[in-house]
Symmetry: C2
Subunit: 492 residues, 2 copies
C-alpha cells in the first residue's frame, strides 16, 4: 500500500489563511507549480531557500508514493524592472549593459541556477518550461481574455481590466487587498501610462524600437507580460485546475493575484487549490541587498570568497541549516548559526556511519513506532522539517545507546530503524553524506613518523626492524625510496 | 595583441572538401552553431565525442582571444523516427510509451545531457535554444519560403520543393549527392506520401489526432519539420550568414543539406562559410548499437556498471582518450585503449604536479619557442589535438630533465613554459587534474603498522618508544584509543 494512504497531510493554504487537509484532484497524483527564477543575475540565497523549501515538499510527496508532476519555470522574458509594467525588461537591460544577446544572459544565469540547485541537491523539476518557449500559448490566452471583454488594447499593447474583472470576481482574494481601497490610495495616473487604471496589468506590450526580444502577435510586434507566462505554462502542463502553486512570499502580490485573475478570466475556474508561500532569508539580521554589501552568493559560501563568513561550509551543511527552520518562518543566515548547524550535521552523519556496527538484540527496548509516528506527524503537519530534525537527534541518542547496548532492538526493528533514518535524512531532507575530510596530509604525517622510526632503527643497526617497517609499508601500499639526502615515498 | 592575430587557423571545410584558411566574417568575432541532441534518450558516447570535439574547437578559439558566440540547440520537437518525414515524433513516442507528458521526457534527458557534458568538462554554449522555443520563428520562415514559391501545401502540411529549388540552386552542394541520380534511384512514392517527390522534406506537419505536441499555424494545428529549427535558431542568433556550422558526420545528409536549401530559399544567401563534421566512435571495433549490447553509456564508464570494461575510468581520462584522436578520424573505444590513455594521463598530471619544484637556471638549454610553435601549428592545422598531446609528452620529458637539472631554463623561460603547459592542458584540452587516488585505506594501513610497533614496544616495556609513537601521531592529527581488546584511532 502506498504510504500516502496512511498519512493525511495538512497544508497551510495562503488562500484560506489556514491549515487544510490536503486532497489532490486525482487520487495519488499531484500537480505542483513553483515560480522559478528570472535569469538575469546569479541566483541569490533567498531564492535558493524558496526552491529548497519546495524541494523538501516535493521529496516528501514522492516519499509518500504520490506521482508528482512538478513544474518550475524559467523566466527568460517579460519581467520588467518594476511591478507597474514600467521600465526595461530585466534580461534585455542586462544584455544591453553587457553588449551581448539577451539569450546569452539567459544561458549564463540558467547554467548558474542549475549548478547551484545541483550543489544543494535539489531535484530537478519534471518540466522546466521557459516564457520564450510559450509565446504562442500566451497569445492564445490573451485572445480569449479579450473575447471575454476583460482586457483592452491600447496602441498595440493589451491590458487586463482589473475593475471590470472585479465586478463579477474578487481581485485580491489571495493577497487580501481590497481593490476599492487600492484605487482610493494610489496616485492618479500621470498621463504617461496607457492604462485605464493603475491596478490594470499588461498582458502584451508593444516593443519599443530598442527592445530586442520581440515576437509578432495580432496586436503588435512585442512581448508578453510577466504574469501571463505562469498562467500559460501551469495550465498547459497541469490543467486548468491543479493542486499546489508555490513561490516566494514576495510573489503573492501582484504576481500570484494576477495569475488567479487571468486564469479565472480565461478558464472561468479557480486555478489552484493550495497556494503555498515560502518565507524570507535575512543575513545577520538584515535584509540581503547588493547595494549595502549585506549579501552573499551560494558559491561564495563554498569557496570562502566573501566578507561575511570566516570559514567555508559545504552545500549539505547549508541545506541542513535551512531545513532546521520551517519554510513559513523567517530565517536568519549567519556564520554562528551555520557553525552550529555544521556541528549538528556531523553528529547526524556520525550516527549514520555508526548504524552498521549496531548489533541486534533479543528484544526491543525502544518504542520505535512512537518515534516514527512523531517523525511522520511532523512532516504531515505542513512539512515541519525542524521537528523532524529534532526527532533525528533523538535517533542519534538511540544510536549511541544501541552501540553501548544500553538499549537494544530486534533484528527486524533494527532493519526498520536503519531504513527509516536513511529515508528521512537522504530521501526526504535530501542531505548528502559526502562532506569528507581530506586525509592525505595525515597520511604523509604518519608515514614520516615511520620513516623517522626506521632511521632510528638503522642508526642503531637494527636492520631487522628497518626492513620490517619497509616491508609492512609495501604491504599497505606505500613504497619508500631512499634518496641521497632523505627518504621519500609514493602511494600505489 | 590578441593571439589570433599571430595564428592563422586552417579548417577542413566539408563544403569544399579541403582545408582552408579561416577568416571570420567580423574580425575577431566568430559565430558557431552546432547541432545538439534530440532529448528522447540518454546521450550516447558517440554524441559525446562530437560535442567534445566542438568543445575543443570552442576552447581553442577562446584561447586565441576570439569573441565566440557558440550556439548549440536542444531538439525537443519535430525529430521523426526516420529521415523520410515518416513515423512518430521521437519525443512524443517515448512519452506515449512511458505514459508521461512529452516535456517530461525532454526535461529528463536534457538534465542527463547537461550532467554528462559537465562531467566531461565541456563548456556550456553561449546560447542553448530549443525547437519548441522557436515555433514562431519557424512559422515566419515557412511563410517566406511559400511566398518565394519554393514550398507547397498539402492538407495542412507544408513541404519544401526540392526540384523547384534545384532549378536555380544546387541541392546536394554539401553531401555531393546528385538530385537527378537520387530521383532516378529512389523508389516511386507508394501513394501513402503527400509529397510530390521523395526528395522533398517537411517544413510543417499537420498533427494527427494522437500527436500531443502541437501548435497553431496558418496551415494547420501541427508541428515544424526537424530541419527547420536549426535554420530558424542559427540565423536568429548568428545572422543569415555565419562562420562555422558543426555536427556529427551522420547529419551531413539530409539534415545539413536541407538547412542550406532552407536558408538559401528564404534569405537568398549561403548560410555558412565553414561546415565542420566530427567523425564516429566505434566500440571494440564495431558500431555501437543498443540492440546488440555493443553499447555503453557515459555514466556506466564512471560507475563500472557495464559489461564492456573491467574497471572504471574518470571523465578526464575518457576525455584525454578521445582527444588523442583527431576529430575527423574514426576512433575505437575499448578497455585496453582506455587503460593506455589512463597511464598517459597520470604521467601528464605527474609532470604538472612537478612543475612547481623545478628551479630556474642561468641559461635556457631547451628551445622553448620551437616547441611552442609545434604545439600551436598542430592546433592551427584543423585542431590537431593528437599532435598537441604528443608535444605535451615531449614537455613531460623536458620536465623530467629540468628536475634532474640535466637541462635548465631561465626564470623567464620557466614561467613561460609553465604558463603554456597549463594553458594547453587545462584551457585548451579541458582536462582536469582532479583524478585523486583515495588514500584513506593506505592511511588506515600505515597507522596499523605503527600500532603494531607500539604494541611490540609495550610488550618489551619500552614505554619511551610507546609514548613517542602516540605523541607523534597526535601531532600528525591521529588520536589513538586503547580499548579492551585492541587499539583504534580517529582522524582529527
Amino acid at each position: 500500500m502506498e504510504l500516502y494512504k496512511q498519512h493525511q497531510i495538512r497544508i497551510y493554504n495562503s488562500l484560506t489563511k489556514s491549515k487544510q487537509e490536503f486532497k489532490p484532484i486525482n487520487d495519488g497524483n499531484i500537480g505542483m507549480y513553483v515560480c522559478g527564477p528570472t535569469v538575469y543575475s546569479n541566483v541569490h540565497l533567498g531564492n535558493v531557500r524558496t526552491f529548497m523549501s519546495f524541494d523538501l515538499i516535493y521529496r516528501y510527496l514522492l516519499h509518500l508514493g504520490y506521482k508528482v508532476r512538478y513544474v518550475r519555470n524559467i523566466t527568460d522574458a517579460g519581467h520588467l524592472e518594476n511591478d507597474a509594467d514600467e521600465g526595461e525588461d530585466r534580461i534585455s537591460k542586462k544584455a544591453r549593459l553587457e553588449k551581448i544577446e539577451p539569450m546569452e544572459v539567459v544561458q549564463q544565469y540558467t547554467v548558474d541556477f542549475h549548478n547551484v540547485m545541483s550543489k544543494f541537491n535539489c531535484l530537478p523539476p519534471n518540466i522546466e518550461p521557459t516564457a520564450t518557449g510559450h509565446i504562442i500559448e500566451q497569445i492564445e490566452i490573451i485572445k480569449d481574455i479579450l473575447d471575454k471583454g476583460l482586457a483592452y488594447i491600447v496602441d498595440g499593447s493589451v491590458y487586463f481590466d482589473v475593475l471590470k474583472y472585479n465586478e463579477t470576481a474578487h481581485y485580491g482574494v489571495l493577497s487580501g487587498r481590497n481593490i476599492e481601497d487600492a484605487i482610493h490610495n494610489t496616485r492618479t495616473l500621470d498621463g504617461q501610462s496607457e492604462k485605464r487604471n493603475p491596478q490594470d496589468f499588461a498582458l502584451w506590450k508593444k516593443a519599443k524600437p530598442e527592445h530586442i526580444m520581440r515576437w509578432p502577435s495580432p496586436w503588435s510586434i512585442g512581448f508578453p507580460g510577466w504574469h501571463l507566462e505562469c498562467t500559460a505554462m501551469s495550465t498547459k502542463y497541469l490543467g486548468k485546475q491543479f493542486d499546489i502553486h508555490g513561490g516566494g512570499m514576495d510573489l503573492k502580490f501582484p504576481h500570484h493575484e494576477c495569475e488567479i485573475a487571468q486564469s479565472k478570466a480565461c478558464f472561468e475556474k479557480d486555478p489552484v487549490n493550495y497556494w503555498m508561500h515560502a518565507n524570507m532569508l535575512t543575513l545577520n539580521g538584515q535584509k540581503m541587498a547588493k547595494s549595502t554589501g549585506n549579501n552573499i552568493l551560494p558559491n561564495e559560501i563554498f569557496t570562502g570568497e566573501n566578507t561575511i563568513l570566516t570559514k567555508t561550509f559545504a552545500p549539505s551543511v547549508v541545506r541542513f541549516f535551512m531545513l532546521q527552520a520551517h519554510y513559513r518562518s523567517v530565517l536568519d543566515f549567519s556564520g554562528d548559526a551555520l557553525e552550529a548547524a555544521e556541528k549538528g550535521f556531523f553528529k547526524l552523519m556520525e550516527a549514520v556511519n555508526n548504524l552498521s556496527s549496531i548489533k541486534a538484540g533479543k528484544i526491543s527496548t525502544i518504542d520505535l513506532n512512537s518515534w516514527k509516528d512523531t517523525c511522520y506527524n511532523a512532516m504531515n503537519d505542513d512539512f515541519n522539517s525542524p521537528i523532524l530534525i529534532a526527532q533525528l537527534f533523538e535517533a542519534v541518542r538511540f544510536v549511541n545507546l544501541l552501540k553501548l547496548e544500553t538499549e537494544t532492538l530486534t533484528q527486524e526493528d533494527l532493519t526498520h530503524f536503519i531504513k527509516l533514518i536513511n529515508s528521512f535524512i537522504f530521501e526526504v531532507l535530501g542531505l548528502e553524506n559526502n562532506v569528507k575530510k581530506d586525509t592525505s596530509a595525515q597520511l604523509s604525517g604518519v608515514v614520516e613518523v615511520l620513516i623517522k622510526l626506521r632511521n632510528d632503527a638503522r642508526a642503531n643497526k637494527n636492520w631487522a626492524l628497518s626492513d620490517q617497517i619497509r616491508d609492512e609499508l609495501i604491504e599497505k601500499g606505500i613504497q619508500l625510496k631512499d634518496g641521497k639526502e632523505d627518504t621519500t615515498f609514493t602511494v600505489n
